[in-house]
Symmetry: C2
Subunit: 348 residues, 2 copies
DNA sequence: TTGAAAGCGTTACCAT
DNA sequence: ATGGTAACGCTTTCAA
């Protein structure tokens, strides 16, 4: 079933059918109805490929996210979901590309074969070849996160530095003096992940300001690593009374490690960090944290990208978000005697 | 940059370039090299739209998953990730469609506009209009899950009935006599979600076989609902000593509710169910559960779909998976005295 | 208000 | 082994 067939049955030309359907030029009410009847009868829909070929637009957005090798986090899930829904509202479809770098086959296909009109990039690194590549090509894209030099770029990001600073100040205000920082995996830090770097930066800065004794750790994106990490922390400095983390996937393990070590949250150990709200609420006690507004960020990214596609010459825009800390139940005043002997280590 | 330009520069015809690139007909080593040089120099890649229009194949798979209104679960994330990676291995891209029913605009676009060569459907219902629609159209698709009458269809599914039965038997073997079943939200049950129905069926059957006293509950897909659900369970029958659940998203809340009620897992309350392994390990104590092999299922679905696309007349195939229960730390022998007084209700 | 026809960039059939 | 040329199904300019 193609447009010619519709034209034939409606007794009009193909161009008239096209215009009747797109509304790009006036069509008499009568012929429009005639056409619509045939279209409805046959359930006709124009072929996306043909249309894309003819007008150069695919009505598809690319969503570039890292391959599954890195465990996915709940946050990423929320991004994907909100991007897809926001795009659907603009009648855009979303094509997924599991690409960490711009040399990925999938990434090359996306651009080289012109499969999408624009792209949204997740998991930005401070020096990101995908971003560079795209901007060199002047290819319409929006980053979720910002590179080291975000000027002139389109992005929506989180102010991880400020967020983590706030976490530290919150803990310092509660009297904590010895705090640990649980970052994302070392490999991600080495690769230059934005959140890992800026978070660490905020941590270091705020800790210095408050004159705190701190240690920083990298931690795998899974529960086991979280548990191990806590063991290291308490081994390195048993007097540690709080931690702040960016590592959502390790959260459950962090809690478990603390429990195993006989530390009660929040009575004698406080935990906070930057985590998507939904996931902060699955742990007990619920996590006091800066809630990553993943859904909102996905939506904003789509809004920005669509705007950029509609107005190719629009000046670069961005959104830097700094959500407040949601006070829940995982932080409390320091002061309880840290349980330095290892006797309770065997507690179930 | 198009194929004509390449042809011109290489001093050959467009068809020769096409054949040199696709290998669909022999090309002399010399011209092939000449062409390849030009292609590499200019970084030429054939346009996906033009190619799709010409040969009728988009090299794109559709992944139909429910809209975000229903909270996403970790399991779904694992599916999406594994489908995308498996597809990439076959050089297919994945187009996401957030569609609950076949009347969704997004779903209609996917099919009507012929945007994809085949589709993978998530979150199957026992009576599923999308499945019916697709099979009526003889459109190549594979379901993750199976409908009430899966004969003649392509799918990969989990034997929820058997899985939940096993959970019940496991608990019964441990001496539990009063068990609760925590299902997915009522709305999903009403809509006919496969896992919710078959899981419930397995629960009822096994409970009858073992002569257990049971109650079944629906529970929202979030931690708060889980907590509330436990309160209801213990209110309805304080002598309940175990529960089995399909509700991954509520798991954290279930644990919290139990802790609040002063029930220690697994000493005086056992928890088990069907949950993706990664998520079963984030709670403390780690959940003894039938691990949903989400990644494997995604991969299998892609394998099946690609096979179906390559061999249009291949007979229907499917995979029914019954992963074993992974014994972790959340179940134990019944017998501890349930703490029926409400005094501990105020425990932090 | 409508129609005719020229693309859009490939692929694949028919020749040579 | 290679070239010419019709499709593929739409959009859009140009004419009327």
């Amino acid at each position: 079933m193609n447009i010619g067939e519709i034209a034939r049955r409606a007794g009009v030309s193909r161009s008239t059918v096209s215009y009747a359907l797109s509304g790009k030029r006036p069509v008499s009410e009568e012929t429009r109805r005639k056409i619509q009847r045939v279209v409805d009868e046959l359930g006709y829909r124009p072929s996306a490929s043909a249309r894309a070929l003819a007008n150069g637009r695919t009505s598809t957005l690319g969503l570039v996210f890292p391959p599954a090798g890195n465990h996915y986090t709940g946050m990423q899930l929320d991004f994907i979901g909100s991007v897809v829904e926001a795009a659907a509202a603009y009648d855009y479809d979303v094509l997924l590309s599991p690409s960490g770098v711009d040399s990925d086959r999938s990434f090359q296909r996306l651009l080289g074969e012109r499969r999408v009109d624009g792209a949204i990039l997740m998991e930005i690194r401070l020096e990101d070849d995908r971003v560079d590549h795209l901007s060199a090509l002047a290819f319409p894209s929006v980053a979720i996160g910002r590179t080291a030099r975000p000027e002139g770029a389109w992005w929506v990001g989180l102010d991880h530095t400020a967020l983590v600073e706030r976490c530290v100040h919150h803990l310092a205000d509660l009297g904590h003096r010895r705090i640990a920082f649980v970052n994302r995996p070392e490999q991600l830090l080495r690769t230059g992940y934005e959140s890992a770097h800026r978070g660490l930066e905020g941590f270091t800065k705020a800790a210095a300001e408050r004159g705190l004794t701190v240690r920083t750790y990298c931690c795998g994106d899974d529960a086991d690593s979280g548990q191990t990490c806590v063991e290291r922390i308490l081994h390195d400095d048993p007097a540690t009374t709080a931690l702040v983390t960016l590592n959502e996937a390790a959260l459950g393990g962090l809690y478990r490690g603390l429990a195993r070590a006989g530390r009660h949250v929040p009575r004698d150990f406080s935990v906070t960090g930057v985590v998507a709200g939904r996931w902060a609420e699955t742990v007990t006690p619920q996590l006091t944290a800066a809630d990553v507004p993943a859904a909102e960020m996905g939506r904003l990214a789509v809004d920005l990208l669509v705007e950029r596609l509609d107005h190719p010459d629009a000046p670069p825009r961005h959104h830097l978000l700094t959500p407040p800390i949601s006070l829940r139940a995982s932080t409390g005043p320091a002061g309880a005697r840290p349980d330095t002997d290892t006797g309770t280590d065997t507690a179930r």
